[in-house]
């Protein structure tokens, strides 16, 4: 599936960038001096061995963790000291590695919760809930796109693990973020959904930047324009998938003898 999509539109602008990003936990440096540029209309993969610091980088970028050093810039604004919810409101939204849904809300309500904010329907304590019904159209559209429409009224807790991941993606997309950070979105998904979600990501990346962590290399090679390889908190290699996957250091540290 060597799609033209893998060709990266080089000229697109940088929307999220980090310089000298560092995070230490006590004496242990989980992330060391990482520079990262995430571009609009690109799928950017962050890969690397377990414990390399990928999730930590996500936590830093979304401000769930405060960097020990370095700076982060989102859409021209310095967000090094901004609160996480503020960052989300500025258009940088993430998913979680261990699935995160609102367990006792229905699938539809999960998505509507996300839709409330961009539609400015979240602080009105004087309006009836039915005022949220105008979000249904968009919510159902999203659910259809990810293939969850049949379960729209199911309580999220009753979904199987894989389906929860899918719901999480729908919820994240509902915010219509400018930059999307996905932490192992395909983990635990069956083949069917992997194909489906790959398509969705490819689709949404046409208008926004996507940074994703993924261990499924066929997905990475399929949909990612740019790959950064992290090892022990540092950048080991960078480039498109073809280049990176040929790098012997990457092969020993991460891929093993897996045929690309």
């Amino acid at each position: 599936m060597a799609q033209p999509a893998v060709q990266s539109p080089k000229e697109s602008r940088v929307v999220l960038s980090a310089r000298g990003l560092t995070k230490t936990f006590g004496a242990f440096a989980a992330v060391k001096d990482v520079d990262l540029d995430v571009r609009d209309a690109q799928v950017h993969a962050l890969i690397g061995p377990n414990g390399a610091g990928k999730t930590t980088v996500f936590n830093l970028l979304t401000k769930f963790l405060q960097p020990s050093a370095g700076s982060i810039n989102l859409l021209g604004t310095d967000i090094t000291r901004t609160a996480p919810d503020k960052v989300a409101r500025m258009g940088l939204v993430r998913s979680f590695q261990i699935s995160a849904v609102f367990p006792h809300l229905s699938v539809l309500d999960n998505v509507r919760t996300a839709l409330q904010r961009p539609n400015n329907l979240s602080t009105q304590f004087w309006l009836p809930v039915s005022s949220l019904d105008r979000l249904n159209g968009r919510a159902e559209e999203l659910l259809t796109a990810v293939g969850l429409i049949k379960e729209r009224n199911t309580i999220a807790a009753d979904l199987s693990y894989g389906r929860k991941r899918v719901l999480e993606i729908a919820t994240t997309l509902a915010l219509d973020p400018k930059v999307l950070l996905l932490d192992e979105p395909m983990a635990g998904m069956g083949q069917e959904d992997i194909g489906n979600v790959s398509n969705i990501i490819r689709e949404v990346a046409k208008e926004r930047a996507v940074l994703m962590v993924e261990h499924n290399l066929s997905v990475v090679s399929d949909i990612c324009h740019h790959v950064t390889v992290l090892q022990r908190g540092e950048i080991l290699a960078e480039g498109d998938y073809a280049t990176v996957s040929q790098d012997p250091r990457v092969r020993t540290a991460y891929m093993g003898e897996e045929e690309a």
Binding site: T62, A83, S122, S131
Partner: protein, 336 residues
């Protein structure tokens, strides 16, 4: 935090249109019937008892707004209830304000207290939250115990009920009753609207998964604080009203046992149900009155009721009713 709602969720949510229509009709019928009953109740019951019941019912509903819909268990709500009682009593007695202004001052005072307590307590969740609110309300209790304006353990006594809007004489029992009833209904409408609003939806999401709500861009602390202050203000409404009904404000209303009592009411009625706490309050108030003249020791009975409720009727009176076959037949699906 999500287990709290186990008691109030059935596994499957069937939001079929017909069902929900049936539910809302049943609700409407029930509410109208209830309201009609309250209108004629003074003909059958002792008005002061009814008024006390309404005050506590409103207090419990205000408390439930926080516990049932944000999952925050406050062990310090006596502060708002009793605090407002003092403010209202003081304003009416010492400054000679009209009763409605006095009550409004109580509400405002309680809201301010809520803001102060909230800012500190909101930083923690669950049990920590409960403990912190408890400790802060103890501080307030000691403040009231020592402060001049509360008159220590004598309390502010002989508070005049005055004239509503300067016109209606509230020392007439029936007038007072309908005033209390009106305030109660307004309070309930406010609560109902609040929980069934876009804001209320976000509160539910936050209770379900805070980190996720943050990552969606909601500043969790502010929403919680909003709910906390709202709950405090409504508890204040109930407290202010009570001080006019009984014409005094005393330390019992700010003591931590009062916070325990309101929890009991809510638990008995059904956490997370709109009208459950009304029944819970009714039961507790009746029980206390009844036990007062019986030979049973009150604390033991209260304690046992508490334990039995937690162990057996976790859903509370209304919750069990909704979940029962009869409740379902009428179209009450237990949900929120």
């Amino acid at each position: 935090m999500h287990d709290m709602s186990d008691a109030v969720h059935t596994t499957k949510q069937k939001a079929e249109l017909a069902q929900s229509r049936k539910t809302s009709t049943s609700y409407a019928v029930f509410l109208l019937a209830g309201f009609a009953l309250l209108l004629i109740a003074p003909m059958f019951f002792y008005p002061i008892f009814l008024m006390k019941l309404l005050c506590f019912a409103l207090f419990a509903c205000a408390f439930n707004l926080l516990l049932g819909y944000t999952g925050l268990l406050s062990f310090g709500h006596a502060t708002f209830f009793g605090g407002a009682a003092y403010f209202t009593a003081h304003a009416v007695k010492v400054w000679g304000w009209t009763p409605e202004l006095g009550v409004l001052l109580g509400v405002a005072g309680a809201a301010v207290l809520g803001l102060v307590m909230g800012v500190v307590a909101i930083r923690r969740q669950g049990i920590y939250f409960a403990m912190i609110t408890l400790a802060l309300s103890q501080m307030f209790f000691f403040f009231c115990l020592q402060s001049e304006f509360t008159q220590g353990e004598d309390g502010i006594q002989q508070v005049p009920r005055g004239h509503l809007f300067g016109l209606i004489d509230l020392s007439v029992s029936t007038n007072m009753y309908y005033f209390v009833l009106a305030v109660f209904v307004i309070g309930m409408v406010v609560i109902w609207r609040f929980i069934n609003s876009p804001f209320g939806m976000i509160l539910k999401s936050i209770r379900e998964n805070e980190a996720r709500a943050t990552s969606l861009g909601y500043s969790v602390a502010r929403y919680k604080l909003g709910a906390f202050v709202m709950s405090a203000a409504l508890a204040g409404l109930a407290g202010g009203l009570k001080s006019l009904v009984f014409q005094f404000a005393t330390l019992t209303d700010v003591a931590w046992q009062m916070s325990g009592e309101v929890i009991l009411m809510t638990l008995l009625g059904g956490i997370g149900t709109l009208i459950g706490p009304i029944f819970g309050a009714g039961l507790v108030v009746t029980l206390q009155n009844y036990l007062a003249t019986s030979d049973f020791p009150v604390t033991i009975i209260t304690g046992v009721v508490f334990m039995v409720c937690v162990l057996v009727f976790r859903r509370g009176i209304i919750g069990e009713f909704y979940a029962s076959r009869f409740g379902r037949m009428l179209g009450f699906e237990h949900r929120h």
